[in-house]
């Protein structure tokens, strides 16, 4: 693993003379390289692009040998936990906004403020909102790789056939129900996926009901059972009206993040719910052209959807050579050759110059996601403060247990809501 094909080729290149230093020292380049490990969760497309970027960086920086490590999202944090316990975290790791606070509080990341002050990391091109989002407990930890927001994906062919022209940026839950039923009448698939078991969708709903921050200062739940009961009733109403696939089908995919399980990909529905940086990936799995809209609004409600960093790259506690790692991180967000390869895959780049360089080369679906991003700016809520530790467990309890119990009719909505609230309180208490 340490003697990968890449490092070997690089060493050969060094001997060939591209690195005068290595030849002058008479040594073998790869033996003296500063090894930097970069660990991310990904998908085949992301992995391909990231390995290409690493190759570019290694080519430009003869003294440093970056090595990539990747697994799927579901295994990522398990592997990271094991590495944290073993004291051998990779130098550079990927993290998401929702989990950051937990990792900051556990002391697994190094703050980047000094590196920024010393000019080792150039953040001048990054939107201030991106910097703010990467700042936790007053220190800057997360270098944002792109901006992201939730999205509603719809099948444009089915929409056209049903003659639907509702504005997808401003539509409401009622609109979604009307559209869904219309599409169903045409004999097509059911109209919309069921969001009963979607923690993210519930988060948006909380924002619309005035609980943009779902947690109090003390790290407890800010909302009561009534909000959750209303949310589940809203989707029950859609389900009972025949706007969604069967409750059993929805329960079967509860808590699964895989794009290929979404109704819009399996053909079970015409509307699915995902993230804006998944638009391109989902299009790759479908025949019909996709359109992108916001998550449905609540009539007379507040904005509930926010823009947030899609992912951060972070410097880990166990980094062996901070300077080399920082040089890599800096290049990852600022080097035009590298950002050109990364494109929009991790989200909309938050550096003005990177965005400008990418724009003329966008594919059709990439243009859809950029246009979507521009369109939502005026309709989003500010970013809620980061969630307290234990939120991942809350999400699992919500999606895989309480919501599934509701879908399968094993519990009444009121009982399931109360049970989840009790469980959530216990989880948050334990995670403190």
């Amino acid at each position: 693993m340490t003697f990968s094909r890449r490092t070997f080729l690089k060493g050969t290149a060094g001997l060939a003379g591209s690195t005068a230093l290595a030849s002058a020292m008479g040594g073998v380049a790869f033996a003296q390289d500063k090894r930097i490990r970069h660990f991310w969760w990904g998908n085949p497309e992301r992995d391909k692009r990231t390995f290409a970027v690493i190759e570019i960086f290694n080519g430009k920086n003869p003294g440093i040998a970056v090595e990539g490590e990747t697994v799927g999202f579901n295994d990522y944090f398990t592997k990271l936990t094991t590495q944290i316990a073993g004291g051998n975290m990779p130098d550079v790791i990927q993290n998401g906004y929702g989990n950051m606070l937990e990792y900051v509080d556990k002391g697994t990341l190094k703050p980047l403020d000094e590196a920024v002050a010393a000019g080792k990391i150039d953040t001048s091109k990054i939107d201030p909102s991106g910097i703010a989002a990467g700042t936790f407990r007053g220190k800057f930890y997360g270098l944002t790789i792109g901006a992201n927001s939730m999205a509603t994906l719809y099948n444009t062919r089915l929409f056209e056939e049903a003659g639907i022209d509702t504005d997808p940026i401003l539509w409401t839950y009622d609109d979604i129900k009307t559209i869904a039923l219309k599409i169903g009448e045409k004999g097509g698939p059911k109209g919309t996926d069921d969001l009963t078991a979607d923690w993210g969708g519930f988060g948006v709903y909380c924002g619309q009901r005035g609980f943009l921050n779902q947690f109090t200062e003390a790290g407890e739940l800010a909302f009561g059972a009534d909000i959750l009961v209303d949310y589940w009733n809203l989707w029950k109403d859609m389900r009972d009206a025949g706007a969604t696939p069967s409750a059993e089908d929805s329960a079967a995919i509860a808590g699964m993040a895989d794009l290929d399980k979404m109704g819009i990909v399996t053909g079970k529905s015409a509307i699915s719910y995902a993230w804006s940086n998944q638009i391109v990936g989902t299009q790759a799995l479908t025949q019909d052209k996709l359109g992108a809209g916001m998550r449905p609004h609540l009539k007379d409600g507040k904005p509930g959807q926010s823009i947030q960093p899609s992912q951060f790259i972070c410097l880990s506690r166990d980094s062996t050579d901070d300077d080399a790692a920082l040089a890599y991180m800096n290049a990852f967000v600022n080097d035009p050759d590298m950002t050109a390869v990364l494109g929009l895959e991790r989200g909309i780049p938050q550096q003005s110059d990177v965005r400008a360089a990418l724009e003329p080369k966008l594919s059709e679906i990439e243009a859809v996601s950029v246009a979507y991003f521009d369109a939502i700016q005026a309709h989003v809520a500010p970013l809620a403060p980061p969630a307290p530790a234990g939120v991942r467990e809350l999400e699992e309890a919500f999606e895989q247990r309480s919501a599934v119990a509701v879908l399968l009719g094993q519990m009444s909505i009121e009982d399931a809501a109360q049970q989840w609230l009790d469980e959530a309180a216990a989880i948050l208490q334990r995670a403190k």
């Binding site: 094991t82 944290i84 316990a85 329960a251």
Partner: protein, 296 residues
């Protein structure tokens, strides 16, 4: 003493690789997990001693009880079912089937693959909503349920997977059947004993030691069963915790939620449960297992 060391030094030297492995890879972790079970340890900060708190927490932990009940259901149903099935197949093969070697190998195959992830993945695909099983049922006009995502059927599907891996008890049964003297059957036949009579009066009692051996091994294995439930339930015991095997719960507490102390305590409780069940099996064996070289 000196003489003792001199006499055995060579032996222990040869044992050294095993001894090092045993102490470093087995005894060490076991002892440290016992210590960790009395601590609050999140794998990052140093463990802090909390006495019996982890064990006390279990008593009111709803998912702990759920995990126990799922595991017990699995053990209680899958072990006898697997043993009955294994014995039935062994008896068929014992009747001098041609090319028996092939059949033995064939029936043993699922057990070799058994612990592997591949079989669990295969099982998931077979029983998925649009999987082969439901497609075949559809051909005969039956609308099959969601075997894996409906909590009413998920555990049964996993039990069937366990029973299907009947190869190793079957081989042992086959060896046991071969060891039963034929003249007993001949004598019984002369006395006009029917098939059932011969089975209950000769086969079963003489096979008791083998049944006991298989029972204990399979029970321990069933309690520890992990990979099938882990893969089929998406790692979380879904749907609705119906596949929350004790080991899956333990794994999640440790590696999803960073609660290494609690997970260690769970591991010791599982060890204790297995020990008690094995002890009970040994104790009852006095009453139903008879060895040929014993006078009873």
């Amino acid at each position: 003493m000196n003489k003792f060391i001199r006499r055995n030094l060579a032996g222990y030297t040869f044992l050294l690789p095993w001894l090092i492995g045993f102490f470093a890879l087995a005894v060490g972790p076991i002892v440290s997990s016992l210590y960790l079970s009395f601590t609050d340890y999140d794998a990052v900060a140093a463990p802090s001693w909390i006495g019996l708190e982890n064990y006390e927490f279990m008593v009111k932990d709803r998912r702990f009880w759920k995990a126990l009940s799922v595991t017990f259901s699995f053990v209680v149903i899958s072990v006898p079912a697997k043993l009955v099935f294994a014995l039935a197949v062994a008896m068929i093969l014992d009747r001098g089937v041609r090319a028996i070697g092939w059949y033995r190998a064939l029936f043993y195959l699922p057990s070799i693959l058994g612990g592997s992830i591949a079989v669990a993945v295969l099982w998931r695909q077979l029983f998925e909503n649009d999987g082969l099983v439901n497609t075949l049922l559809g051909v005969v006009g039956v609308d099959g349920p969601n075997w894996l995502s409906d909590p009413r059927y998920s555990l049964t599907t996993l039990i069937v997977l366990a029973v299907w891996q009947f190869g190793s008890p079957m081989l042992i049964f086959l060896a046991g059947l071969r060891a039963i003297p034929q003249e007993l059957y001949e004598a019984a036949e002369i006395d006009a004993a029917g098939k059932f009579r011969r089975f209950f009066a000769i086969t079963l009692p003489l096979l008791a030691p083998v049944i006991f051996f298989n029972l204990v091994l399979q029970m321990i294995e069933a309690f520890k069963s992990f990979s099938g439930a882990f893969v089929i339930s998406g790692g979380k015991g879904a749907p609705l915790d119906s596949l929350l095997f004790f080991t899956v719960y333990l794994y999640n507490e440790a590696f999803s939620y960073f609660r290494m102390g609690y997970a260690s305590a769970l591991a010791w409780v599982l060890l204790l449960i297995i020990a008690v069940f094995t002890a009970v099996a040994f104790w009852t064996s006095k009453y139903w297992v008879h060895y040929e070289n014993e006078r009873s």
